[in-house]
């Protein structure tokens, strides 16, 4: 029996990995992938607690999160393609138009 703390630890490590990826990587696609990692970290948490608390709610929410992550990936990739057509680059630092 794997204890809940192990799940939570894995989830925390995954989340930290994703977060660091979002913060330090410059490639838009990698940033997007890091976001996916963070979402999945949350999913692990949800499923683990669902099992631990013997409630299906967490798992259902996890399914929702997967569905939304798919949608988010699609929209994110579409934005990347559009930006890439304009800039011939996927460097996040160059995309700073949304400011004052």
């Amino acid at each position: 029996m794997v204890p809940l703390s192990a799940y939570v630890a894995v989830s925390a490590i995954l989340f930290a990995t994703g977060l660091v990826g979002v913060l330090i990587r410059r490639n838009f696609i990698i940033v997007l992938m890091s976001v996916e990692i963070m979402l999945n970290a949350a999913n692990i948490n949800l499923v683990a607690f669902s099992h631990y608390l013997e409630s299906m709610t967490g798992q259902i929410v996890a399914l929702f999160v997967i569905a939304i992550a798919a949608g988010e990936a699609a929209v994110g990739l579409a934005i990347i393609i559009v930006v890439f057509r304009g800039k011939i680059s996927t460097n996040v630092d160059e995309m700073n138009l949304l400011k004052w």
Partner: protein
């Protein structure tokens, strides 16, 4: 049917007014003239029908044309009263009016504003008919003001002539004085009776106190004096001769100026109760008759002589009213309308023949050149001078006889002297105009021509009326006229038949002698020995100058009333311009300064403060906007940092037992 006939009398000319006034410029002068005259002619026909109805003894009859003001105790209708008095007035107004309209077609031919002239004339007819037909004081007043307005418009017909415009204004202003008195009388009547209908007022008049009756009668007299050009308000009438001659004939001789007499006779019930007012009327009339006649002696303008003669004759009518001889006054009103219209129109014919000349010193010897005009003018002169058996003889003599029989010897003396003077100045006028050597210049003389028949026709008819107009009143005080009019003036206290036949005939003889003396003197002075008149004038230059200048009454009025009022006006003008305008300008100046100051404050204080705030914001924003770098990483880092802080805070909160976050959470 009969009611419609009555209503049609004033409505017919009104239709012509509307047509000529509104669309008159679209058709020719001929059509306008025919329309105007035709409408008055039809009115005359209606008046004749109404008269015939009255003759059959129908009695007083009221026709309500329109319920005008009603509610509560107040009831004022546009209603007409048809009684013998109204009938006589209707016939005179429409009949003489019709003849004068016909005459005007010829006289005004080719004048500028021909249609306008007839519009005003018809409007005058409408007003005059309302005046004589109204069954209450309000309708009377409407007519009264209407004729005043038309008088103003027609005196000022040649409005580009300064003297005409001034005369019109003078007539209007002087009439206002009288109208104010008349209006006061109406208020008094309403105050005392609560109604303005003649029948009701006269029915209740018995309950009136003599003082109040006197007050009302005197106020009415003020109105009558203004409208009928009596002393002291007569000065406008001679000046009114600036209008075209038919206007002088219709308005300022035959009809409008007699409105005062009509009004007094209509209100004779009130006058009978006020002996003081009666005496005042008689004295005013007597004085005017004599006074105006003396001025007429020396005037040199043919129309002005006739104007003063009109004032004088109106004085006779007032005298008649004042001594209770109402029938005689109306009788004289009627005959005067005939012969004075005739005189004015034939004077117009003379003026027409001479191409506009009005000065009798530049006439003379016209008898041969314009024989028809001469004949009718002579008939008019004989009538006004009171030569038997012309119209003026019967009516004037009746007033004088009434005065004598009822022991008003002073008034009789005035009237008799006035009659002598009347006869003299009228024959003087005739001699200077038609007899003796010609004093015209050659150019005028060459162009003298008899007037067309459209003008002579009415003259001949009026001459016939001047000749025969007196016969309805024969025998004196007992003629057909008196019996017909009796219901309207029945209550007259002094309307009894005094005096024996011998006395009456004696007085008639005296009147005839007086008239003949006047004629004789005029004949001597202006035909037999023309030098004498000038010698007489030279002998007493002061008297002559006084008469020639009309006793300087105009000058006295100017000095006493007009100039002070003008000075007052100028003073107020100064006050207005200096004080009132100064205040206004001061306020404006203050406002302007205040506005400037507030602008300055706004610019330099308020804006400055606002700018400080704005600039501070600007500086702050310039610093802090760097936070929004557009770099997604920065945002993410900030979020993470915030998250750490929050988690730490939550951890501290959790481990310390939730202290440190305020009391409320516990």
């Amino acid at each position: 049917m009969y009611d419609w006939l009555v209503i049609a009398i004033p409505v017919l000319p009104l239709v012509a007014v509307l047509l000529n006034g509104l669309v008159g410029s679209r058709y020719s002068h001929d059509v306008a003239g025919r329309l105007a005259s035709g409408s008055v002619g039809l009115s005359f026909a209606c008046a004749l029908a109404v008269f015939a109805n009255q003759l059959q003894g129908r009695g007083a009859h009221e026709v309500v044309a329109y319920r005008w003001i009603f509610g509560g105790d107040l009831n004022i209708n546009l209603a007409f009263l048809i009684d013998p008095l109204t009938c006589i007035m209707l016939l005179v107004v429409t009949g003489v009016g019709f003849l004068i309209h016909l005459y005007s077609i010829g006289y005004m031919h080719g004048e500028e504003g021909f249609t306008r002239f007839f519009t005003y004339m018809n409007l005058f007819m409408v007003s005059m008919l309302l005046l004589v037909m109204g069954n209450n004081y309000v309708v009377l007043f409407i007519g009264w003001e209407g004729v005043g307005l038309c008088s103003y418009l027609l005196i000022g017909y040649y409005y580009d002539k300064v003297s005409a415009a001034k005369a019109a204004t003078k007539a209007f202003v002087v009439n206002r004085i009288g109208d104010a008195g008349f209006l006061l009388a109406i208020f008094l009547v309403f105050y005392n009776f609560g109604t303005l209908d003649y029948t009701q007022v006269f029915a209740k008049a018995g309950a009136l106190s003599p003082q109040m009756a006197t007050a009302i009668a005197l106020c009415l007299l003020v109105g009558a004096v203004g409208k009928s050009a009596q002393i002291p308000l007569y000065t406008w009438l001679p000046d009114a001769m600036e209008g075209p001659t038919p206007v002088s004939a219709l308005i300022h001789a035959a009809t409008m100026v007699t409105a005062g007499v009509y009004m007094i006779v209509r209100n004779h019930v009130l006058y009978d109760m006020a002996p003081v007012a009666m005496t005042t009327v008689a004295v005013v009339g007597g004085c005017t008759a004599l006074f105006a006649a003396t001025i007429g002696l020396v005037q040199t303008d043919i129309k002005r002589v006739l104007a003063y003669s009109t004032v004088s004759q109106l004085g006779y009518m007032f005298l008649g009213c004042g001594i209770g001889a109402y029938t005689a006054a109306i009788f004289h009103l009627m005959t005067h309308a005939f012969f004075k219209a005739l005189l004015f129109l034939s004077a117009g014919s003379v003026i027409h023949a001479l191409g506009g000349e009005q000065d009798i010193r530049k006439m003379g010897g016209l008898k041969k050149k314009i024989p028809v005009t001469h004949a009718v003018f002579l008939i008019g002169t004989l009538a006004i001078a009171g030569i038997f058996p012309f119209a003026g003889f019967w009516s004037k003599d009746e007033i004088m006889a009434h005065a004598f029989v009822h022991h008003h010897y002073g008034l009789y003396a005035m009237a008799a002297t006035g009659a002598l003077l009347t006869s003299f100045y009228m024959f003087r006028l005739t001699y200077l105009t038609f007899y003796g050597p010609s004093r015209m210049d050659h150019h005028t003389e060459a162009h003298v021509h008899e007037s067309p028949w459209i003008m002579l026709g009415p003259l001949v008819v009026l001459a016939g009326l001047s000749l025969s107009g007196g016969f309805p009143g024969v025998p004196p005080e007992n003629g057909w006229f008196h019996h017909f009019l009796h219901p309207s003036v029945a209550a007259g206290v002094a309307e009894d038949h005094g005096g024996s036949l011998e006395l009456i005939i004696g007085l008639m003889g005296a009147a005839t002698v007086i008239a003949l003396i006047g004629w004789g003197v005029a004949h001597y002075l202006y035909s037999v020995d023309p030098e004498t008149a000038d010698q007489w004038a030279a002998k007493s230059p002061a008297t002559y100058a006084t008469l020639l200048n009309k006793y300087y009454v105009d000058e006295i009025y100017d000095f006493l009333i007009v100039e002070p009022i003008k000075a007052l006006g100028r003073a107020w003008d100064w006050f207005d311009k200096t004080i009132i305008d100064g205040l206004v300008r001061g306020v404006a100046e203050l406002t302007e300064r205040g506005a400037w100051l507030s602008t300055w404050i706004e610019k330099h204080v308020v804006y400055a403060g606002l700018n400080v705030i704005g600039y501070a914001n600007h500086l702050t924003a310039r610093t802090w906007r760097r936070l929004q770098s557009g770099q997604v990483h920065h945002y993410a880092a900030i979020i993470v940092a915030g998250l750490f802080i929050l988690v730490h805070l939550a951890y501290i909160w959790w481990t310390t037992g939730m202290v440190g976050f305020g009391v409320a959470l516990r």
